[in-house]
Symmetry: D2
Subunit: 250 residues, 4 copies
């Protein structure tokens, strides 16, 4: 990202757990919703960035064409309402990612239409929600997303996500988590699809105040910076039919 223009991040949350006050603790953990807490963390750590939020209930889920054109990095939290996301919006988000928009997929977003559509696999995993301690270990310390993150990052209570996590081999494996019960999970992984950079980070269940944790906010801020495209305009890869030696004419 050029330093001249503000980085624009959009935090999308389906917002269903918040709307239904389910679990009841969510209003206490997240008075402004999970998206509010995530956005606040980004504003704290990326002071020059423009950070906004959107939810499923907004018109076009808050993901209209003009909104996406002005978005460098989209963060995605979904769980209870994956199927309620409009297929046309999914396809629009996918096209923006292929054209260069960064994407951070969070926790149960592994099962979102957007993520599964971009990865092509089932994205299935093992889970158990008993509030186990999660330890997030850094296995690629040189990666920009790992900067300033303690090793391990200790999350006192979290839902367990375990292997086998059915994703394609990632470009980079940044974090591996273990849980009190002994399971492991590739909890921080990057992908490139088209011109877009994607980061999946698994901590962050609606039952626990994970996104209020400063170290988790650091990971997300690093992720946003890393996923931001180098150029603002989208350039979806397209078929071309070049003449022989066409490149020599330029």
């Amino acid at each position: 990202m050029s330093g001249e223009r503000a980085l624009r991040a959009l935090v999308w949350n389906e917002g269903v757990h918040e709307a239904n006050r389910n679990p009841p603790s969510i209003a206490e953990h997240y008075p402004d919703g999970m998206h509010g807490a995530i956005a606040a963390g980004l504003r704290r750590l990326l002071p020059g960035a423009e950070v906004s939020t959107a939810t499923l209930a907004d018109p076009e889920h808050g993901l209209g064409e003009q909104v996406l054109e002005r978005t460098d990095v989209l963060l995605w939290w979904g769980h209870a309402a994956h199927d309620a996301v409009d297929d046309a919006v999914v396809e629009r988000v996918v096209e923006h990612v292929l054209g260069g928009m960064g994407l951070l997929v969070l926790h149960s977003g592994h099962f979102s239409k957007v993520f599964r559509r971009l990865l092509g696999t089932t994205c299935s995993l093992a889970w158990r929600n008993e509030g186990e301690r999660e330890l997030v270990w850094t296995v690629k310390p040189s990666h920009p997303i790992a900067q300033g993150v303690p090793n391990p990052l200790v999350i006192p209570e979290q839902e367990m996500y375990g292997e086998f996590f059915d994703i394609p081999d990632p470009d980079d494996l940044v974090f591996i988590s273990s849980f009190a019960g002994g399971e492991v999970f590739r909890s921080g992984v990057t992908f490139t699809r088209g011109r877009g950079r994607i980061f999946y980070f698994s901590p962050g269940d609606q039952d626990y105040p994970v996104y209020q944790q400063a170290e988790v906010q650091q990971v997300l801020a690093n992720g946003v910076r890393w996923a931001a495209p180098d150029e603002p305009q989208r350039r979806m890869p397209r078929v071309s039919n070049p003449p022989r030696e066409g490149f020599a004419q330029r």
Copy 2:
């Protein structure tokens, strides 16, 4: 693959160029269709294998559930009729791949629904059909698919496929091609999706007798052997919800 059971390969070709005698040369180059030539090459090089063929015109495109259950590796050639492939068949093939079936995608199959669905990207590329010489260079000589393949493999006339080829980073890059006009292409790449192994190999346009070339047949036979699953039954990755220490009870 256990040596006890015959490897079962199914060569699928849309068969539209052959049916339409378009280009006219196809009947001369491929009296039994491209699928016929590919199958003959596999039978020659994998004498213990059971090799069959299917085309778009067959009921369910020849890709019914019972057929796929008995298939270890599916080869896919398509070009003129990608959209005519039934979405339900596409989803069935995808599920079999995720459950372990091997898949070889050939030439213009890069734009098939199956391949794009499994990879998630546009799979777009540059192309020019002027019968240029293609040189296929081995860049991972230890890979099983490269065994017995000359370096370079010389294809006298071929359609040019050039970068940028919009695919995810492959697991292994086995071959890179150059063309007379100077373009390059990642022409032999492998992927894993779910439990399935996928090999894409780009040489093989309907205008040229590429699949009659013994070295190309060697690549395909190597690919079939490599992509064959270790166990015959499909095991699609699924969500699980294991109890704590559940693994200790076994």
Copy 3:
């Protein structure tokens, strides 16, 4: 590997712990040495293979040129005497690997001269020897090395090896372990160097009877089969100075 010729595996163990009866339990756990137990497992699971052993005390450490020429896959266990391995032998082993010989590096062999020379990094890690339970989870179930291996593989007592493990990004990440204390480790990783396939597998400390465990023996047998070269003769990559169109003359 062609099915016609017997696969030849050589299990190398420095043999120092055994010679010094240190720890005292080693004679009970491994009456024939760790190499003896490993070799017995391979003979059980690869009945057609020729399996032999060698130790540091043998002339040329049992790794003379003629021995290596007749070896398809070398397994390496070392710990107390890495520095006692002759540099000329190290270089000989490295050249055979680059020329195509398979290599399995076991447990504390991460610090062997051979492994560090081939990988180029420090291969350092975190460790703690308190007999913690190790759970070995499969994260690439389609990989040949994972076939028939329970998920997780439970090792009742083992030395803890933890991240950050300073290795290059592996070709394939097959296993991730967790330990009772919460640490994680990339415990099963593959690399290609030159024409040689390398598999590192971390379980197997001299204090515990890990190599007597049938599931661990399965992993090693799978690894030997996977690492075996497709052709018996060594072909070290070399510089060439080809004339233009030299490939067309063949």
Copy 4:
């Protein structure tokens, strides 16, 4: 890199071709040496950076401990005098890379002691010096090193470097070149070793004014920016022996 501190790049060139005026054209192409041209390009494109140069003839080859401590990214050009580089200096450079220093290895530097020591392979390749046109194609357009680089980048005359290039699988494959004679080469590849980021870029023979080309300078400037460590101090990976739950005490 924090924007607060100037990025410090050091361009190292053995300087032997220049000192010997061999080839005679070198004085015309590179009146200030290849290192001078490379440094000038970096100063033009990275105006805030501190760019210095060093050569083999300098005391300690200009690569003393204090110099390296103040270097964020080292660029390395060598060809005629690889063996004249002192082993202690090689080990010092390697330790700085493993501790976080960025490294760009250029053209015939593929055979430098530093590069081979870090990669572990022979780094051998095919070559032919007949002044063939090289086309450098971008195959990962989202990579920071590809920003602003034409696709293809046309180099009118260059030495041919061809596959098989005996390197480990790179982290990222950014560029693939083709040559007039038809060979291909993985000409832009990245690696991580320890905490250090490494970029190898093959164009740049002493016989041709490649480093005077603005697009080549763009690639090198991009590479320097990409390889620069996020934190200035070196942190070589080391063995640790943590107590159980030691991480909980912090």
